[in-house]
């Protein structure tokens, strides 16, 4: 039911605000990745393929956003994915203790954006149903060693940045500007 909305002025403003906010959060995630590199010496994702697979930290789903005909479900997946990453990013408070205020600020932005999307969907009368998550999706594995925690401290922001880039592409389709 979305296409005829896309010309609507409120909807466009809602999109512009979300696009700007996602760009801001993406910039902040890049800064956190820099901190992970300088502080934890973890800079290259190629070196962590094995441990990533072992830990099984999956990317939050955005499959509903790939289809040409834009679905309410895509907004729901963006909103739910943001909540998942808000939870996962808490791990960074452990592995970057000296930068907790920056991590807190990032998580606050992530939860604000998720709330904004939820409210805007309600205001625009979109279907706000939460899609069932695949088993284990969204929950972090138990991290037994310091290495596993620090490796996750690299993997989570890397996943989240890809998630934000996909969200940006999906929402840009809808802007008429």
């Amino acid at each position: 039911p979305l296409p005829e909305f896309s010309g609507d002025q409120d909807f466009q403003q809602f999109l512009q605000k979300d696009l700007e906010y996602i760009r801001k959060i993406k910039g902040d995630v890049a800064q956190v990745q820099e901190l992970v590199c300088t502080t934890l010496q973890l800079c290259n994702e190629e070196e962590l393929m094995l441990v990533k697979q072992k830990l099984g930290i999956s990317q939050a789903p955005l499959d509903q956003c790939h289809s040409k005909t834009f679905q309410d479900a895509c907004f729901s997946q963006i909103r739910d994915g943001l909540q998942i990453y808000h939870g996962h990013l808490a791990l960074l408070l452990q592995v970057l203790p000296a930068h907790s205020s920056r991590v807190d600020a990032l998580r606050l932005d992530v939860s604000n954006l998720s709330t904004n999307i939820q409210q805007q969907m309600e205001d625009l009368g979109l279907n706000t149903v939460t899609y069932p998550k695949a088993e284990g999706q969204g929950t972090l594995p138990s991290l037994s060693s310091n290495f596993d925690r620090q490796a996750s401290g690299f993997i989570i922001p890397a996943n989240f940045k890809r998630f934000l880039e996909m969200s940006l592409r999906a929402l840009r389709h809808l802007t008429t500007a």
């Binding site: 910039g27 604000n112 904004n116």
Partner: protein, 308 residues
């Protein structure tokens, strides 16, 4: 008790009338038994006398009326005059002032580097009374018709007419309902409500000039390379450049330089002159505030090329 003072109200309108009474039960005041009780008053240090009579229960009562009470704070003392020094028996504190006036011109500004929202207002007339001033806000939606989660009051420093709401209480990119409330013993006043998204009242941090060159070579044109501030690189901005020479210190303005193209090109410069350049930016939607001017950058254009 031996004696006490009552006033109709401890807080009154400045210039109105105060009525007070002082009651003395001499049988309860060790040392006054059987003495002839004479009651006098003192307003701060100014002596006053009331009308004294005996109450049904046999206590001595003095009533005092002060019209056009013109002090904002005063102590009203009740004395009993006996053989020795007049004795202070009771006291009442009186505050006089005005109900709070409506705070005006409420404006707010989002500071992107400190990540907080600072609001300022004009307090209007001084009520002369202890007042509780609070910047109130609540998260909202749409055009703030429905308030959602209330946010803890922001209490300004004493005597200050501004208050800063920390990031953790803000909901960015969503409307917030913000107003000022002033309350004293004589009433309450509220400012107009603002319905704003903090990011729509952001003051951007200034851009940074990266380099200035004479381009194309040997022409009167220059090319300025610049960058937006990192704290606002996610915001589409319109910027303006200004330059001046020491000889005539008026600024020349070059408007409508839109980010993100980070090079801007201008001609018509004089040869062999030292120019000073600065740039500032604002949201392309013109919402919010201009940034401060960037740090200045001095550049001397090359001498005119020898003719032919």
């Amino acid at each position: 008790a031996c004696g006490w003072v009552t006033v109709d109200s401890p807080t009154i309108l400045l210039g109105s009338t105060v009525t007070a009474s002082c009651t003395i039960q001499s049988n309860r005041c060790g040392g006054l038994e059987g003495e002839e009780i004479q009651i006098t008053w003192r307003l701060n240090h100014e002596s006053m006398s009331g009308s004294q009579h005996k109450s049904i229960e046999g206590a001595e009562v003095s009533n005092l009326t002060i019209s056009h009470f013109n002090q904002t704070r005063a102590k009203l003392w009740c004395f009993v005059v006996g053989n020795s020094t007049p004795q202070r028996i009771g006291m009442a504190e009186i505050h006089a002032g005005y109900p709070p006036s409506k705070p005006e011109n409420l404006t707010c500004m989002m500071n992107l580097s400190e990540n907080c929202l600072t609001c300022h207002w004009d307090p209007g007339l001084d009520g002369h009374l202890p007042a509780r001033v609070a910047l109130k806000s609540s998260k909202s939606r749409g055009q703030c018709e429905v308030s959602q989660e209330a946010i803890p009051d922001c209490i300004p420093q004493a005597g200050q007419n501004d208050c800063t709401i920390p990031r953790r209480f803000l909901q960015l990119y969503q409307k917030m309902d913000i107003w000022v409330s002033v309350q004293n013993a004589l009433g309450t006043a509220e400012s107009e409500h603002l319905c704003i998204d903090p990011m729509d009242v952001a003051k951007l941090d200034p851009p940074v000039l990266k380099s200035i060159q004479s381009l194309p070579f040997q022409t009167d044109c220059i090319s300025v390379a610049w960058e937006v501030a990192p704290t606002s690189s996610h915001i589409e901005q319109q910027c303006e450049l200004r330059y001046m020479t020491h000889e005539d210190p008026g600024w020349t303005l070059v408007p409508n330089i839109v980010s993100p193209n980070l090079k801007t090109h201008h001609c018509g410069f004089l040869f062999g002159r030292e120019y000073r350049f600065q740039m500032r930016c604002m949201r392309v939607t013109a919402m919010g505030y201009w940034s401060e001017w960037s740090p200045g950058w001095n550049f001397t254009t090359h001498e005119k090329a020898p003719a032919g």
